[in-house]
Amino acid sequence: MSLAAEVGPAGPTPARQPARSRSRRSRRTALLLLAPGALWLLVFFALPTVQLAATSLYDPSGSLETGYALTFHWQNYLDVLAVYRDQFLRSFLYAGIATVLALLLGYPLAYAIAFKSGRWKNLMLVLVIAPFFTSFLLRTLAWQAILADNGFVVDSLKAVGLVPTDGRLLATPVAVVTGLTYNFLPFMTLPLYASLEKIDHRLVEAAHDLYSSAFTAFRKVTLPLSMPGLVAGTLLTFIPAAGDYINAELLGTPKEYMIGNVIQSSFLVRLDFPQAAALSFLLMIAILVLVMAYVRRAGTEELV
């Protein structure tokens, strides 16, 4: 909304002829600049989405061989919700926990890089991004090795009694959430860093000068000013984490499966397209609703 407020005053300028033709030309330029992206989105996002919506309403009695009939079979949605309610809830629970953990790890990390790293700043940023040099799949497979039953992590945790002697980490919810947290940590850290880095240190000094202890200055100045990064980071973590299926697949068991696993198997294994499409749509809508509620509550439009 702040954008609208900034643009606002330019509106009621005297509408003289040259000004109007100039504004028309600048509008044409804007459309030209938008065109390639818009076209891309139309072909590869809008049309497939319509197709997906249609698929989700096909008659489920059809098959790939016999073909599907578009019968506006809304029952598909109720069916998948009834059958896969647990996986839905688990997706949001795991993604939520992973987001909170990533925030708890990422905020201090971003803060340290932004304010305390000095000449090591660039190196530390590279280290944050370094995991992207290998594939998502490989990194998750590496966690399989790390959390393996006879690996050193489990051994050490058993030694200090954090894991019971007959316990394990792999194939548990802990492993899945750990994997999610790890894989999406950079998405949390980088926007937070970008936000924190912009904060003028003199504002913190001003807060100290105005009777704020270090903690109060953080709570009243640094934290509010880093909200844009915090909101961006949590969204960039939560949304892909909620739809992820690799971590549950490789680090969990079917008992830890998330909605992504169900969609994957109904599209590619069971070939039940109407059901898969209905699941995808439900996930999309659920995330949209959650994100809108969250952004409204965080009030990012209030921020500079």
Binding site: L203, E205, A206, A207, D209, L210, Y211, T216, P224
Partner: protein
């Protein structure tokens, strides 16, 4: 508010005792002793890098002295955390909180001290800085001058014992700066709080401050009321940094009553004894450009009342008309160019380049400085407003 009349509770003076601040090898502030009387408007004046801002930050608690003590009345605040000091700062960049509106910015200090009902005080403070009705706006929507006043209100509302101002007018244009100088002075008189004002602008310091400490290279060169500093500079740095001065090399030759006699290129000039920083040997004879009258060659001393100093043999080399006055450069027989400011009273026609003139001024306006000092120390480069590098010329 602590006092009923709006006066701060304790009449505490601010004292710096032997304060030194080193950053690695660099000594920013060097064994500084300063006393700022309670309720005064005190200016720390000096070129950039002279240590004035560091001094201010040590008083604010944002920097810790390497050595020495900072005292507020009887209380030693040297190592006290900034948020525990009864001292507030108006920052150079204002440092307003961009996520809070004007009212919340101003109320920030009160809220941190647990004061719940701040509305009335905020309204009073915004009225004082003439920003009524701006309380719901965000800092970014205000002009520089308005932001400056918000920063002032945000600091003043806490009724600090000392208010620190770090180049508060530096970002404003000239006209607004003049206006804010008067405004600041008015507010200071109204609230009676000690103001310590850091600036590199000598005019600003002279306009506002009761007392000026001229700082150079981490030390105080001279301290006193503006008129005294201007009239009787103690060092070449002060003579050049505060206004302009003509400094001519001379030799003390004798004494006559309460005047010293000095010889300048075989002319004898008189200097009151109490205006001489040194009493023997090689010296700089100084006189302010506006104290000098230019007269046609051969007519000096005619209408003079009292004891006058005369330097003959000058040739006008440059004339620049600046409206209220005309600035002349006069080349003396020994090659040096002296500056003369003549008020455009209209009583006589101006001189032109090439005219032969004599320089004449009251002996009481002459001052003597140590010839050991660099005669160009503190000279400001007209183009940038920054002091010229030390050691240029001689």
């Amino acid at each position: 508010m602590r006092g009923s009349s709006g006066q701060p509770a304790a009449g505490a003076e601010l004292r710096l005792s032997g304060v030194t601040k080193r950053f690695g090898e660099f000594t920013a502030v060097d064994n500084l002793d300063l006393t700022v009387p309670q309720g005064s408007f005190f200016a720390l004046l000096g070129p950039s890098g002279c240590g004035k801002t560091t001094t201010l930050r040590m008083v604010a608690g944002l920097e810790e002295p390497t050595e020495g003590l900072v005292l507020l009345g009887e209380q030693d605040i040297t190592r006290l955390r900034p948020y525990k000091r009864p001292v507030n700062t108006v920052f150079q960049s204002y440092a307003l909180f961009p996520h809070l509106n004007i009212a919340e910015n101003v109320a920030f200090g009160l809220r941190r001290r647990g004061i719940k009902d701040v509305r009335e005080q905020v309204a009073q403070m915004l009225a004082l800085v003439e920003l009524d009705g701006y309380d719901k706006r965000k800092p970014a929507s205000l002009s520089g001058g308005q932001q400056q006043r918000v920063a002032l209100a945000r600091a003043l509302i806490n009724r600090p014992q000392v208010l620190l101002l770090d180049e508060p007018l530096g970002a404003l244009d000239l006209k607004l700066r003049r206006q804010m100088q008067l405004e600041l002075k008015r507010i200071q008189t109204e609230v009676g709080i000690t103001f310590v004002h850091v600036t590199h602008d000598q005019e600003e310091a002279m306009t506002m401050a009761d007392t000026i400490a001229v700082m150079n290279a981490g030390r105080v060169e001279q301290l006193g009321p503006p008129a005294q500093l201007y009239d009787r500079p103690a060092t070449t740095f002060v003579a050049n940094f505060l206004g302009q001065s003509n400094l001519v090399a001379a030799e003390v030759t004798g004494r006559s009553g309460d005047e010293l006699l000095v010889e300048v290129h075989s002319r004898v000039l008189a200097v009151p004894l109490d205006r001489a920083a040194v009493h023997a040997g090689a010296v700089w004879v100084g006189v302010r450009p506006e104290k000098i009258s230019l007269v046609q060659a051969g007519t000096a001393g005619g209408a003079a009342v009292g004891r006058h100093n005369v330097l003959p043999g000058g040739i006008v080399s440059d004339v620049s008309f600046v409206g209220v006055s005309t600035e002349y450069l006069v080349r003396m027989p020994w090659g040096q160019e002296l500056t003369v400011f003549a008020q455009n009273t209209g009583d006589r026609s101006p001189f032109a380049a090439g005219d032969r003139v004599e320089l004449q001024w009251g002996a009481a306006h002459t001052f003597l400085l140590d010839a050991e000092q660099d005669s160009r120390a503190g000279v400001q480069d007209v183009a940038t407003g920054e002091p010229a590098p030390a050691g240029v010329g001689g």
